[in-house]
């Protein structure tokens, strides 16, 4: 690795070095406020460097790219991490979580996501994925006073370990088949491999299983609701957005780099996508815990995202990037609202605790309504344009059956999103008032809602950007 490559890696270096410095500082200095402020500025600095610094080389050590696509996601995950740390400020203090470790782990995880989104090699994918998964093992279980948190951490660890196993073995098979870790060559090798081709396909299949665990495709989704329910809410806000989004971004990059080898997997992916959407939506219906409900909602979203990938057209990929971005914004905002309502001991997660809350906290419940409608895909929010783009791409690519399954799933999804809205506004005010939230938390909500409405009314802004960064 030479100097130019190091310059191209600056955003990730800022995250990692900043995280290490804060970890050290946290060992000596226990005040949470400066540590969190430091974490937020490190994340913002990383985002800024990804935005402003034009990398001198396009690829780093044959593992990661520094194309505009990679920089876009590095910027996006850094901003998400910054927002996530902003909503963590009060949460960490009131629950006396160890601030130094918390902040540094979040930054390490962000570095992992940035690396994963820009991976151009199987090794790069593995490294990026493991980097943030390891950080999440600890983050999920970091609230030591909460049994559910420990349970969630253990579940994520076991599932994660299984997924890692699948991934490592899959990569080994792919290498055996194609003789390269580098993605374009590995994909071409798959198409060209003679007798070894079945093993190569098995390898890709195992890689897909590992990815399926991470972005919770059915039938690998079972950990999702438990982990979402148990983990500290700000951590979930990053888990639901960054960790899933980064894997999705890597998948999009993978599909963009070479379609040839994937045609054999089409029917498998079709089935995965259809199952994920339907099972996710049906499982969400009876949920009474809002975090579990959002967990299943994320399952449905990942299934819908897969439609865009399956199309393997430039429209489909652009639609997928749009979809991921919008999903992450709305999802982060929804968890931010739950966090802002949490006080030192409890947070409203059970729907019973949301009864009539629309009258006690009209602004935040109104904002949650907008964000949920965006997740559901209602115009004029960005969620509608995202869904529109995905269905457009799928009909264009002749996946009409899948589009119809998607329509059915989105109809079912509406029922459970509306359930939350109904509980907030159409019941008597029996739930006690929650924490009013701080100005910082409100500003995060304002950013998320503003973005959802802006990209809903003027989706051209985001589409143009995506059009210019897609490889």
């Amino acid at each position: 690795m030479n100097g130019l490559e190091l310059i191209a890696l600056t955003p990730v270096l800022i995250l990692v070095l900043g995280g290490t410095a804060l970890l050290m500082a946290g060992a000596w200095y226990r005040q949470p406020d400066p540590l969190l402020a430091g974490g937020i500025s490190v994340a913002l600095a990383a985002g800024l460097s990804a935005l402003l610094l034009t990398p001198p080389v396009q690829e780093i050590a044959g593992l990661f790219s520094s194309t505009p696509y990679a920089r876009f996601f590095t910027l996006f995950w850094s901003l998400s991490a910054a927002l996530m740390l902003v909503i963590s400020v009060r949460y960490v203090k009131e629950r006396s979580l160890p601030a130094g470790e918390y902040v540094s782990l979040v930054l390490f995880a962000t570095a992992g996501m940035a690396l994963l989104s820009s991976a151009t090699s199987l090794i790069g994918i593995f490294l990026g994925l493991e980097a943030f998964t390891l950080a999440f093992y600890i983050l999920i279980a970091c609230n030591r006073h909460c049994d559910l948190s420990a349970e969630a951490g253990l579940k994520y660890l076991v599932m994660g370990a299984v997924a890692t196993g699948f991934m490592a073995f899959g990569i080994a098979l792919i290498y055996a088949c194609s003789g390269s870790f580098h993605l374009p060559e590995a994909l071409q090798g798959l198409a060209a491999a003679g007798a070894l081709r079945p093993w190569g396909l098995l390898g890709w299949g195992m890689l897909l299983v590992a990815i399926g665990f991470k972005i919770s495709l059915v039938p690998f989704h079972l950990w999702t609701p438990d982990v979402y329910q148990g983990a500290p809410t700000p951590v979930v806000s990053l888990l639901a957005t960054g960790s899933k989004g980064a894997v999705a971004a890597a998948l999009i990059g993978l599909f963009a780099s070479g379609p040839s080898g994937w045609t054999d997997m089409t029917s498998l992916l079709w089935l995965l996508s259809a199952l994920t959407m339907l099972v996710g939506a049906l499982c969400a219906l009876p949920q009474t815990n809002i975090k579990r409900l959002l967990a299943y909602s994320s399952v449905v979203h990942m299934g819908t995202l897969l439609i865009g990938l399956l199309c393997q057209t430039s429209d489909g990929l652009a639609a997928s990037v749009f979809y991921v971005t919008v999903y992450c914004i709305a999802s982060l905002g929804s968890f931010a609202i739950i966090t802002s309502m949490a006080d030192g001991t409890s947070e409203p997660t059970d729907l019973e605790q949301w009864r009539g809350l629309g009258y006690r906290h009209p602004v935040r419940c109104g904002v949650l309504t907008v964000l949920l409608l965006s997740l559901a895909g209602m115009p004029p929010t960005a969620g509608f344009m995202a869904k529109f783009a995905i269905f457009h791409a799928s009909i264009q690519a002749d996946f009409i059956g899948l589009a119809l399954v998607g329509i059915l799933a989105s109809l079912i999804s509406f029922a459970f999103y509306l359930k939350v809205i109904m509980v907030m506004f159409m019941t008597d005010e029996t739930a006690p008032a929650c924490h009013p939230g701080t100005t910082l938390e409100h500003s995060v909500l304002a950013i998320c809602t503003g973005a959802v409405l802006l990209f809903g009314l003027f989706p051209g802004l985001l589409f143009d950007l995506i059009g210019s960064i897609l490889p």
Binding site: M378, F388, F391, H392, I407, A415, M422, M426, F463
Partner: protein, 492 residues
């Protein structure tokens, strides 16, 4: 013609209620302020639409007003609005009924600013539906309208409000999503043929489709419109939604929401798919007749006055659709006129039912009796609107009904003869209602006061309109002439 200065009137019609809605929501704590704000907004909009009606009431071919701009370049989606004679009348109706609805919602005390905000948001959606001529823009407004109605039924409705709201939303959404798939498919087919990808209605009409393709896409659009209209057998959501919604919500629901379905057929489904339309018209006619009878019978069996008029609306919509299915210019003009008159007459009845309920605490027919003895003015107006709804000559619905029947008779004499029988049915349930509620011995629930000045203010303009439309509907038929001729032009 050019009395009005050149400003983007159509955009104004959409933006004004939206602005009003936001201001109302912001004035959350000050109920009086929000009431006056909403009243001022709706009044300004009404004045603008009257200005438009005076300027463009003479009708004309093509768009009377047209606005166009690029919205989402990537997909060729445009922000284009157009107004012809049909949308002119419906925009006027929307503005009028919202003014009435704001006045009628004066007694709502619980969270009034939000209610008014939602009412104005609904007006935005409706104006957009009647004016949009880009299919995605139309779809956006079509969906936007669902949320305020859902919240209005669900928050301010009766006991079963939550179920009713959810049922309304999911029914409507199922139709909308089918339409979304159909419109994307049509867009792609058009793009492949011509190379220009656009959602503009006028361009998409030129797409060449095979009959199976047309029928498939037509069914996608028609599902959305038939559910909203509602055409039997997709009507089961309506009586619940009606019975549970608050008075001004119900005015909106019958007066306007149901009309969006019919309007969608006229503006979008029929012109886009002429061959499929020709194929489907007999089926539409039969379903419309079925609806006419089924709903009339349903209305006869109801004990709840709100439900009775919900069924009566379905029955009227059956007649409107029958007129459309006849595919004849007189029948079409009658159908569109009937849309207006039915909206006004039924709207007034819902306002009156709310007044009766406010005074007696009930709207069950068997609990009410002898209203005339206690509140003669209220009863007289109730009688007037009930008779108008029944189609008494000289009152609003008569003109529309007779045009529909004459027109239908020329193409389908059997349908017309059957429809006449159904009109007699209408007389049966209306007279049963009037007999039970207005006359008879004075019941246990005492009414202590007759109409208040605010209530007079709501009902008198409606009464004048009902009589005017019954005696001299010509000014409202003139702008329809050319657009209807244009729409009927190519097909059967």
């Amino acid at each position: 013609m050019a009395i009005l200065p050149h400003i983007p009137w159509l955009t104004l019609l959409i933006c004004l209620p939206l602005t009003g809605a936001m201001l109302c929501m912001l004035a959350d704590e000050r109920e009086r302020t929000s009431h006056w704000l909403a009243l001022a907004t709706t009044a300004i909009i009404f004045v603008i639409t009257i200005g438009l009606f005076i300027s463009y009431g003479a009708g004309g071919a093509g768009w009377l007003l047209h606005e166009d701009a690029i919205w989402i370049d990537r997909y060729g989606i445009r922000y284009s609005l157009g107004m012809d004679g049909i949308s002119l009348l419906l925009v006027l109706l929307t503005a009028f009924l919202h003014l009435i609805a704001v006045l009628a919602s004066w007694p709502i005390e619980r969270h009034a600013p939000r209610f008014l905000g939602l009412l104005l948001l609904l007006e935005t959606g409706l104006m957009g539906i009647f004016l949009a001529i880009d299919l995605v823009l139309f779809y956006v407004f079509w969906e936007v309208m669902l949320i305020p109605m859902f919240l209005m039924i669900g928050i301010w409705g009766g006991e079963q409000r939550r179920q009713a709201a959810l049922k309304f939303f999911l029914y409507a959404l199922a139709g909308s999503l089918a339409m979304l798939v159909a419109l994307i498919a049509l867009y792609l087919l058009h793009g492949e043929q011509t190379g220009s990808y656009t959602f503009a209605l006028a361009e998409l009409m030129k797409t060449r489709l095979t009959l199976p393709q047309e029928i498939l896409l037509f069914s996608g659009f028609m599902l959305a419109f038939a559910i909203k209209t509602p055409l039997v057998p997709f009507h089961t959501w309506l009586p619940d939604a009606h019975a549970e919604s608050p008075a001004s919500g119900a005015v909106d629901l019958t007066g306007l929401l149901l009309k969006t379905g019919v309007f969608g057929m006229i503006r979008i489904a029929f012109p886009l798919f002429p061959a499929a339309t020709r194929f489907a018209l007999p089926l539409l006619g039969i379903l419309a007749l079925t609806g006419l009878f089924h709903a009339a019978w349903g209305a006869y069996r109801q004990n709840d006055i709100k439900r009775l008029f919900a069924y009566s609306s379905i029955s009227h919509v059956g007649l409107i659709l029958l007129g459309l299915a006849a595919w004849q210019i007189t029948a079409w003009e009658g159908s569109i006129l009937l849309m207006l008159t039915n909206a006004i007459a039924t709207g007034a009845l819902f306002v009156l039912i709310a007044m009766i309920r406010q005074r007696t605490g009930t709207c069950q027919i068997d609990e009410l009796s002898g209203l005339w003895g206690q509140a003669p003015n209220l009863s007289a107006l109730f009688l007037l609107f009930a008779l108008a709804s029944l189609g008494l000559p000289g009152l609003a619905n008569f003109a529309g009904e007779i045009l529909v029947l004459i027109g239908t008779f020329q193409t389908h004499p059997v349908w017309a003869s059957l429809a006449v029988v159904a009109v007699v049915f209408a007389a049966a349930y209306i007279l049963r209602l009037v007999q039970g509620v207005i006359w008879g011995p004075i019941s246990g629930t005492r009414i202590t006061y007759d109409l208040t000045p605010r209530e007079w203010l709501i009902l008198v303009p409606m009464a004048i309109l009902v009589i005017w439309l019954g005696l001299y509907p010509a000014p409202f038929l003139t702008p329809l002439h050319e657009p209807v001729q244009l729409l009927l032009g190519g097909s059967p």
